[in-house]
Amino acid sequence: MSELTERIMEISGADPRKCMKCGKCTAACPVAGEMDIKPHQFASCLAKGQSDLLLSSNTLHKCLSCFACVERCPRDVRPGRLIDAVRQCVVRARGQAFLTPEEIPELLDDELPQQLLVSAFRRYRR
C-alpha cells in the first residue's frame, strides 16, 4: 500500500478494501453527476492503490459532506470520509488551500450566514 493510501486510511478511519462495489453510495449521492470520480470509484481507486489519481479530482470541490453515501453503504466504507481525507491531504500542504481570505470580500452578500464562512474555511483550508 502506498504511503498516501495509508495516510488517507489513517485520516479517514475508513477501510476502502471492504468495498463490494455495489454502487449504493454513488446512487445516493446528490452531486455524483457532477463528479469526475464518483464516490464508489474513490473507494475502488484507493483499494487498488491508485490514490494519486484522486488528488486532482473535482470531487474534492463538489462533495458536500452530506453523508448520504455513508448512511447507505452496507459495508461501512464511509466514502464521504475517504473523500474528505483526500481533500485534507491536499489542503494540509502549504499553499494548497481551496479558499483564501483574499477571495472572501467579493463572495459576500447581505444575507450570507456566518456559518457558511466558517464551514467553508474548515473544509477548504488548513
Binding site: 485520516i11 452530506c66 485534507q88 444575507e111 456559518q115 473544509r123
Partner: protein, 261 residues
C-alpha cells in the same frame, strides 16, 4: 426544566430570529435556557479527520461547561447540534480524541462525553411532548400546508445523531401537526441543500435547491420549515417559496411571536 443553551455564532448575527423565537417559546413552555458566559464558534462543520483535535476544542469546552453545571446541552441550529453531538460521541467513544483533548485543555475534571446533547426538536418531542405542546397552542396554524426540510445535518450519520430515522424522519411533521397545520411529506426533504459549497459554486447549490423546492411544491407545500440558517440561505436564494425557522412558527402558534420581536 433547565438546560444549558448553546446559540452559536450565526444565531447571534444573521439568524437572530432562530434564537429569539427559540428563547420566547422555551419561556412559554416553562423551559429555562442558560447560556454559558464564555463560548466560541463550534466551527460549523464537524472535523472529519481522525487526527484533528484543535477544531473540536470549542465544542468540548461548552460540553464540559454543561457537565460542570450538571445540565444537558440544548441547541437549535442544525449545524451546531451536529458538531456538538459528533464531538461528544468522540469524547465518549474514541479514546485517542478523549485523551488528547483532555491533556490539551487541562480541565478541572476530565471530560468523557457525559453531557447529553439535545436539539430543541428533541426537547419538544421527548421532554415537553407533542400532546402537551398541542394544548399550549393558542393560534393554531389551521389550513397551512407545511413541508419540513431536514437536510443532512440533523439526521446523518443516523447512529450518532439519533434524532430520528435518517431515511424517513417524522419529528418535524409531528411538530407541524401539533401546531394545527398539515405536514406535506415530500421525497427530497432529507436531501442536502448544497451546504458550504454555495460560497464558491452557487450554480451547483442552485440545482440542488431547485430539485428540493420542486419536489416540495409538487407535493403541495405552501411553505418550508428548517432549523438551519445555511439551508435557509441556500433555499431562499432560489425561490419565492417562504422558508421559516421552526421556532418562528412555533412562536406564532404559542402566541409569543409579537412579544419576541
Amino acid at each position: 426544566m433547565k438546560f444549558s443553551y448553546y446559540p452559536g455564532c450565526t444565531l447571534k448575527n444573521k439568524a437572530k430570529d432562530l434564537d429569539r423565537y427559540a428563547r420566547a417559546c422555551a419561556a412559554a413552555l416553562g423551559i429555562e435556557l442558560i447560556e454559558p458566559d464564555d463560548w466560541q464558534c463550534c466551527g460549523g462543520v464537524y472535523p472529519l479527520g481522525k487526527d484533528e483535535i484543535a477544531p473540536k476544542l470549542a465544542a468540548v469546552r461548552v460540553l464540559a461547561d454543561a457537565a460542570e453545571q450538571g445540565n444537558q446541552l440544548v441547541t437549535v441550529c442544525s449545524a451546531c447540534h451536529h458538531v456538538l453531538k459528533r464531538v461528544n460521541d468522540d469524547m465518549k467513544n474514541d479514546a485517542d480524541t478523549r485523551e488528547r483533548a483532555n491533556r490539551y485543555m487541562d480541565l478541572q475534571r476530565p471530560y468523557t462525553g457525559q453531557t447529553g446533547v439535545l436539539h430543541l426538536l428533541e426537547v419538544l418531542r421527548d421532554r415537553v411532548g407533542f400532546d402537551t405542546l398541542k394544548e399550549k397552542v393558542v393560534n393554531p396554524l389551521t389550513g397551512k400546508k407545511i413541508g419540513a426540510y431536514y437536510g443532512c445535518l440533523l439526521l446523518r450519520p443516523g447512529d450518532v445523531m439519533t434524532l430520528d430515522d435518517p431515511e424517513n424522519p417524522r419529528v418535524m411533521e409531528d411538530l407541524i401537526r401539533a401546531l394545527g397545520a398539515e405536514p406535506v411529506v415530500y421525497p427530497y426533504r432529507n436531501e442536502c441543500c448544497g451546504g458550504y459549497v454555495s460560497l464558491g459554486d452557487k450554480e451547483l447549490t442552485g440545482r440542488m435547491c431547485d430539485r428540493i423546492l420542486e419536489s416540495a411544491v409538487g407535493f403541495g407545500a405552501q411553505m418550508l420549515l428548517t432549523a438551519c440558517p445555511l439551508c435557509m440561505y441556500n433555499l431562499r436564494a432560489h425561490s419565492d417559496l417562504p422558508v421559516y425557522y421552526f421556532t418562528e412558527l412555533l412562536a406564532e402558534a404559542l402566541g409569543v411571536k409579537e412579544a419576541a420581536q
